[in-house]
């Protein structure tokens, strides 16, 4: 059959994926045409295509978009009905994460999560060890600022990183994800959230991170583009495990970036890891030949031809078959970071954490908090109200 597959990505992913679809296409006698672009505009294009029912047969979907495209589990083909896919390669958790309303809508390609990266060189220079708990962290921060200078920061948190840090703090305290799957409402009390927000505030007060305003003043430049990061003056961040190289590469003069397990609060009940499928493959419900598409998807994720060609271009694969086959391939630090993510504990993360409106509610409110327009309590209430409103639409 003639199939189309759409994805976003960078250079290496494009090359790998084209190879993979060629190989899998040949294997099953299908021709698969790749439609790919950068991340910018991909959502808009997919949205338009979904509205026009003209999306590709196989679509790479960002996991948080699932509720947008398939609120009731009917946006894409039901993958469980497609024989060709060997679902045994995924854990129940992965399958659950790819389901909407109980219908399997997307197959997790890889699992990703946030980990802490610290610039070991900077810590060494200040003669302090890399912290393991938040308490140590604050102490270390004080030492570094004292020894190396006020313009040294130990951490970085802007935009969604700020949201996820707040989330981390709350989850560690409460052991609950933002959304209660039972009620489909915010699981946290305003007080709990307020405490998380205050934690963020404390990071600023102690000089661990730069204030939101200072970040904005620099034009909200990406961390890896900042000269201060490259020079080690920002010594740590909380990032996706798969992005290790992006942050490690710009570092100058042989500085070393190390992935570190979750820092924990003294009274933490869990690691609070934010772990999720990084992206999923879905099959269009408008596909003329879903069976053929399923064959290709299975080939890409579970069969040697696909696995070999794709390699780690989408992170370390979630499929067991692929994980086994790839073995120790891939950068060791990325593997280490991924291992940390997989090992850490925490509640199941709901895709609503990254729902655009919910994310906007967090970022906007945290910004107001950072600019001193709200106190932590008010901010917490505002976030919870807004989030609940959004969630209500999905009842």
């Amino acid at each position: 059959a003639e199939l189309r597959m759409a994805w976003w990505g960078g250079e290496s992913r494009h090359v790998a994926t084209q190879k993979a679809i060629a190989a899998c296409g040949e294997k099953y006698g299908h021709t698969v045409k790749g439609e790919f672009t950068g991340f910018d505009g991909y959502l808009e294009k997919l949205t338009t295509q979904m509205a026009g029912k003209t999306e590709a047969d196989i679509v790479q979907v960002n996991w948080p978009w699932l509720p947008l495209f398939s609120k009731n589990g009917d946006g894409f083909a039901d993958l469980r009905t497609l024989q060709a896919i060997d679902l045994s390669n995924w854990s129940e958790a992965d399958l659950a994460a790819g389901s909407m309303n109980g219908v399997l809508q997307g197959l997790s390609v890889s699992t990703t999560g946030r980990v802490f990266f610290f610039n070991a060189t900077t810590f060494e220079k200040a003669g302090v060890p890399i912290p393991k708990t938040w308490e140590e962290f604050f102490a270390t921060t004080a030492t570094i600022k004292e020894k190396l200078g006020k313009d040294y920061y130990t951490f970085n948190a802007v935009k969604e990183t700020a949201q996820l840090l707040t989330t981390l703090a709350v989850v560690q305290k409460t052991g609950k994800d933002l959304v209660d799957p039972e009620t489909n409402r915010v699981a946290w009390t305003p007080e709990e959230l307020a405490e998380g927000i205050s934690f963020l505030g404390k990071l600023v007060e102690t000089g661990a991170i730069r204030s939101q305003k200072e970040e904005a003043a620099d034009g909200n430049v990406n961390l890896f583009e900042k000269p201060s990061w490259a020079e080690g003056k920002v010594a740590g961040s909380y990032e996706w495990d798969s992005t290790y190289s992006k942050y490690a590469d710009p570092l100058k003069d042989g500085q070393v970036l190390t992935p570190v397990p979750m820092l924990k609060l003294a009274d933490a009940v869990t690691d609070g890891v934010y772990r999720k499928p990084s992206m999923v493959f879905s099959i269009s419900k408008n596909s003329k030949d879903p069976a053929a598409a399923a064959q290709i998807v299975n080939c890409l994720l579970n069969e040697p031809e696909g696995i070999d060609a794709l390699g780690t271009s989408r992170g370390l694969p979630a499929s067991k078959a692929a994980a086994t086959r790839l073995g120790e391939k891939g950068e060791p630090e990325v593997r280490a970071a991924n291992a940390i993510v997989l090992a850490a504990g925490g509640p199941t993360v709901s895709p609503f954490n990254e729902h655009p409106e919910i994310r906007a509610a967090f970022i906007d409110t945290l910004e107001e908090y950072a600019y001193g327009q709200l106190d932590a309590k008010e901010a917490a209430e505002q976030i919870i109200d807004t989030v609940n409103d959004v969630l209500a639409k999905f009842d």
Partner: protein
């Protein structure tokens, strides 16, 4: 007499000095504004020869270790095609679009400026209305329209509307320009036996040339830069124009190589700049006279 001469000389000298100062002030101002205007372009070209880490080390434009890496790698692209292919696609989109725009907008402008017909006011009103409407919202209905026409993944949606004088701005501009031209030559042509079409082709179009050139230039540059249109309507990579190809390697969640992007940006704007510099005289004449007659 000599006293005379001396006086004259003194006065002339003072006047020359004042003039010199005033001129100097003007030039300093103009040069500094000009520098600010052009700096981005200079920076862009300079940065495209920098290494990735150097790009972010400051706003200077001189590369410390010049490298053409960005160009070499960028040209290869991550696809089976080189950048040349994408230029060719851009060309395939731009050529019919520019030609279609020029022809259809000229016809529309000719009708509005030189003929009387029923509903003229309303139709001209529609030109203005299109000008005012934010285009974000018509995108989805338009997409569905083209889907129903079966034009997705072809170049048609990109240039057919333009070929039907869909770019209200150009129609408006040409109408303004044409209104400022006397109709005598056209009457002379009619007396010479030319019908209205011949008059349009042989007389009006040549006189409209400056405005038409700027229309073509604008259309050229806008189309070259247009990203959303091709993104939405084209799915096959082998049909991508350069604007889209430029974004191929930009995945904001993964690392990306800036110098390659900047290098390709330079290549992307080069045609527009070349065309602009080549035709700037007509271009400026065109837009200015199109605008003067409010």
């Amino acid at each position: 007499m000599t006293e005379f001469q001396a006086l004259n000389d003194r006065v002339a000298a003072r006047r020359a000095r004042v003039r010199l100062i005033s001129t100097a002030v003007r030039y300093v101002l103009l040069f500094s504004v000009g520098f600010v205007m052009l700096y981005p372009l200079i920076w862009l070209v300079g940065a495209s020869f920098k290494t990735n880490s150097e790009i972010f080390s400051g706003a200077g434009f001189m590369p410390a270790n010049p490298t053409a890496d960005g160009y070499v790698k960028g040209w290869q692209t991550s696809t089976p095609y080189t950048f040349g292919r994408f230029f060719w696609n851009s060309f395939l989109i731009i050529l019919p679009k520019v030609i279609g725009t020029a022809i259809s907008c000229t016809m529309a402008a000719y009708a509005f400026a030189r003929f009387d017909f029923p509903l003229k006011k309303i139709l001209f009103g529609s030109v203005i209305a299109i000008l005012l409407l934010p285009n974000v919202v018509t995108r989805i209905p338009q997409y569905i329209l083209f889907r129903d026409l079966g034009w997705l993944d072809t170049f048609l949606p990109l240039w057919v509307p333009s070929a039907f004088a869909g770019d209200a701005f150009f129609v408006f501009m040409l109408v303004q320009f044409l209104r400022s031209l006397p109709a005598d030559m056209e009457e002379a042509a009619r007396v010479d036996g030319a019908n209205s079409l011949q008059t349009l082709v042989y007389i009006v179009v040549p006189m409209l040339a400056p405005a038409l050139i700027s229309v073509c230039l604008f259309q050229f540059m806008w189309t070259m830069n247009d990203f959303l249109g091709p993104l939405i309507y084209l799915s096959s990579v082998d049909k991508y124009p350069v604007s889209l190809a430029l974004k191929l390697s930009i995945d904001t969640t993964e690392a990306f190589e800036w110098n390659r992007i900047l290098a390709m940006s330079v290549l992307t704007i080069t045609p527009a700049l070349v065309v602009f510099f080549a035709a700037q005289r007509y271009f400026i004449e065109g837009i200015s006279s199109g605008g003067v007659k409010g």
